[in-house]
């Protein structure tokens, strides 16, 4: 009894739109058929060339050609554009295949209706039915396109770049070609001294920084919140407003101001040091003190956020817990240790991990404050406070070492992904424990 469904389905496999025509949905059928013909022609004539180009990345760079009596520089293949066009073309092909599958499914569905003796809908009705049935996809259409072209495509491109030799000075189009070189970029990064020293140095500092920055801000925030929340402290609202000020000022402004305050010669911080008869410190120009500076400045920026969070949690702790503790004669310390702390820690543990991941990628604090400096001869294109991200930025924008930069980007992704997966499974186990709720 599924004669119509089967015939319509196979017809649509044969060519988009045939099944619809067979189902007597003429407008839809013609539209699908047109999409099929234009799509296929476009793929065969234009896109296939681009896809081929993606694999070869060009055959000839800029070269000299004899025109008449003189040699002229003729532009050759631009490998990077070829790669991007190749990627784009593959996406269009995927879209086409997706449409094809939709077309077959539509033909079968309508064929089935006919098998059951139900008349098929006309064009307008099926459009409005589709809109309503797939409403979430209608909403998601534009966002998905945006993410596809401005996030996914670029990330894919960067990932592929790590497997090429796209880097200054020798392989920069349009002058030269870029080639696929497999895993060589990664092996260089890990084994060639020029790169591996910098990589492991920067990686170590990135991890130390992320741990320090997260812990100082987190516990600093808890400390400040508890200080304000103590019994007997007056003007709680005033203190809170005061401590929230750093959060309200645009981050780049405060960072640039801090950079000036910490200026060795003229900055007010060293001025106060000298006022008390002390020698000023090289806040931003000495490797060790620069690291101290970024951590301290980051506390200044980050503590208000944790403070706000913790204060919200403190008000949510049920009062009767404390009353019960009072009845049992608990000291303030015991109450703090056994009621307040567990509560705060359990509700904020997930943020601790997201903040850790965020700090690994904390571009602004480092770049605006020290620019990754002070620079050092031990490192290749990096300074002593550079994180992996700021190093990546310098590698791409200042040095055009694109392949190394994308390899570093992939490694950052792997680090963040493993931290996030860890946090995800942990927070699941928290939820299952049901310690608080």
């Amino acid at each position: 009894m599924n004669r119509y469904a089967r015939t319509a389905g196979w017809l649509s496999v044969l060519s988009m739109g045939l099944g619809q025509l067979y189902n007597r949905q003429y407008i839809k059928g013609v539209l699908f058929l047109t999409a099929h013909i234009t799509g296929l022609t476009y793929i065969l004539t234009v896109l296939s060339k681009h896809i081929y180009g993606f694999f070869t990345l060009g055959e000839q760079g800029q070269h000299l050609v004899k025109v008449g009596k003189i040699y002229k520089n003729v532009p050759g293949d631009h490998s990077i554009f070829m790669m991007i066009y190749g990627l784009l073309s593959m996406m269009v092909v995927l879209l086409y295949l997706f449409l094809y599958v939709m077309n077959i499914r539509d033909a079968i569905a309508n064929g089935r209706l006919r098998d059951q003796g139900i008349p098929v809908k006309n064009f307008a009705a099926s459009i409005s039915q589709g809109m309503s049935k797939n409403f979430p996809w209608v909403l998601l259409g534009i966002p998905i396109l945006g993410v596809l072209f401005f996030t996914i495509m670029p990330i894919l491109f960067m990932i592929f770049m790590a497997f090429t030799n796209y880097s200054a000075p020798e392989h920069i189009p349009p002058k030269n070609l870029v080639d696929w070189i497999g895993l060589k970029t990664f092996t260089d990064l890990f084994t060639l001294n020029v790169w591996s020293n910098t990589f492991f140095g920067v990686l170590t500092w990135t991890i130390i920084w992320a741990i320090l920055a997260t812990i100082t801000c987190y516990f600093g925030g808890i400390l400040v919140a508890l200080l304000i929340n103590q019994k007997g402290i007056k003007f709680k609202g005033l203190w809170r407003t005061l401590f929230i000020i750093p959060y309200a000022i645009p981050q780049f402004v405060s960072l640039l101001v801090m950079r000036n305050m910490l200026n060795d010669k003229f900055g007010p911080v060293n001025q106060y040091f000298r006022f008390f008869g002390l020698e000023g410190l090289p806040w931003l120009s000495d490797p060790f003190w620069a690291k101290v500076s970024v951590v301290v400045v980051n506390m200044w920026i980050g503590i208000p956020v944790s403070m706000v969070l913790v204060m919200g949690i403190l008000t949510a702790i049920p009062k009767d817990l404390y009353e019960a503790a009072d009845v049992d004669g608990a000291t303030p310390w015991v109450k703090f240790r056994h009621i307040t702390m567990p509560f705060v820690l359990f509700s904020t543990a997930p943020i601790l991990i997201t903040q850790f991941a965020g700090n690994i990628n904390n571009f602004n604090v480092i770049f605006l404050l020290t620019k990754g400096g002070p620079s050092s001869i031990d490192y290749n294109m990096a300074g002593k406070t550079d994180l992996l991200v700021t190093w990546l930025y310098k590698l791409t924008l200042e040095n055009n070492k694109y392949n190394i930069a994308s390899a570093v980007g992939i490694l950052i992704f792997l680090i963040i992904a493993s931290v996030s997966i860890f946090s995800y499974t942990r927070s699941r186990s928290y939820r299952e424990e049901d310690m608080i709720q």
């Binding site: 670029p154 103590q230 929230i244 991941a357």
Partner: protein, 282 residues
């Protein structure tokens, strides 16, 4: 017991005062410096001996600043334009995305959400080079529109806070409207949107300030000095003139910070709510 308690309070107050000073000192110092005569970073007193508003007027009359190109008004206008447009587009995109994944159960929803999570783990400017090449091809490099498109296109990825909010709106409201014959758009406009004021405020604020303060993409995309935003311009002011244009920078920084700080003061409640609700999601 009494003395112990007052000792505790004394130390607490001392600590609070110290931290309070640390919190406002940079801001006060910048404001003071912006009124200081001369252009150097160095100053022997905290409160300047002589006050001047020359630096503020210089910002509006760039022709008076010899040897330095600081089209401040231009930068301000660029930033305002970019931030406002990105706010409008970004908020719309983020709201619709969050609404769709929060209220509907459709095939592919789970994989969509995990894709968003995974994409969030890539360093944001991993995509820099490709975007750069794109914009060159589209002839959009060095235009404010490029920046607006880049910010808005990524907006959908920040959907989790808004999704958390929509999750808390009871489904029965919609179902009641559905029974009364409302279609999807009616439900969204007449029921969901009016209830979403707090989250709309939160998203608009974060997208506005995000665009207002972004440095990385602005520096990549805006190439000519006239197209710069404030973040790029002020960074350059500090970076290339270091301590010799400090008072000018201070005045510029004050004018950048004032609107944002005022905005923050008025909308603090929403921001804090958003922060905490994001936190509870884990």
């Amino acid at each position: 017991m009494k003395t112990k308690n007052s000792l505790r309070l004394f130390f607490s107050y001392a600590l609070l005062v110290l931290m309070g000073i640390a919190c406002i000192y940079p801001a006060l110092w910048t404001i003071m410096s912006s009124f200081k005569v001369g252009d150097s970073l160095f100053s022997d007193t905290f409160v300047p001996k002589q006050f001047t508003i020359k630096h503020y007027s210089d910002l509006f009359h760039p022709e008076n600043i010899a040897g330095k190109q600081v089209p401040y008004v231009r930068w301000y206008w660029n930033t305002l334009k970019i931030a406002t447009m990105s706010m409008v587009l970004g908020t719309m995109i983020q709201l619709l995305t969050a609404y769709a994944v929060s209220r509907f159960r459709f095939r592919g929803r789970k994989s969509l959400l995990s894709t968003v999570l995974v994409l969030g783990m890539f360093p944001g400017f991993m995509s820099m080079i490709a975007i750069y090449v794109f914009l060159v091809q589209l002839n959009l490099l060095d235009t404010p529109w490029a920046l607006i498109i880049v910010y808005s296109a990524g907006a959908a990825l920040g959907l989790f806070v808004a999704k958390g909010f929509f999750d808390t709106i009871p489904k029965s409201l919609e179902e009641a409207a559905r029974i009364d014959g409302a279609n999807h758009w009616d439900v969204f406009y007449k029921i969901i949107l009016p209830l979403s004021r707090p989250i709309i405020t939160y998203i608009s604020l974060t997208t506005f300030t995000g665009a207002w303060m972004d440095f990385i993409f602005a520096r990549l995309i805006l190439r000519s000095r006239d197209q710069w935003t404030l973040a790029v311009g002020l960074f350059d002011l500090v970076d290339s003139y270091s301590s010799t244009a400090f008072t000018l920078f201070a005045a510029g920084a004050v004018l950048v910070a004032i609107p944002i700080t005022i905005l923050f003061a008025f909308t603090q409640r929403f921001l804090v709510e958003g922060l905490t609700s994001g936190a509870n999601k884990g």
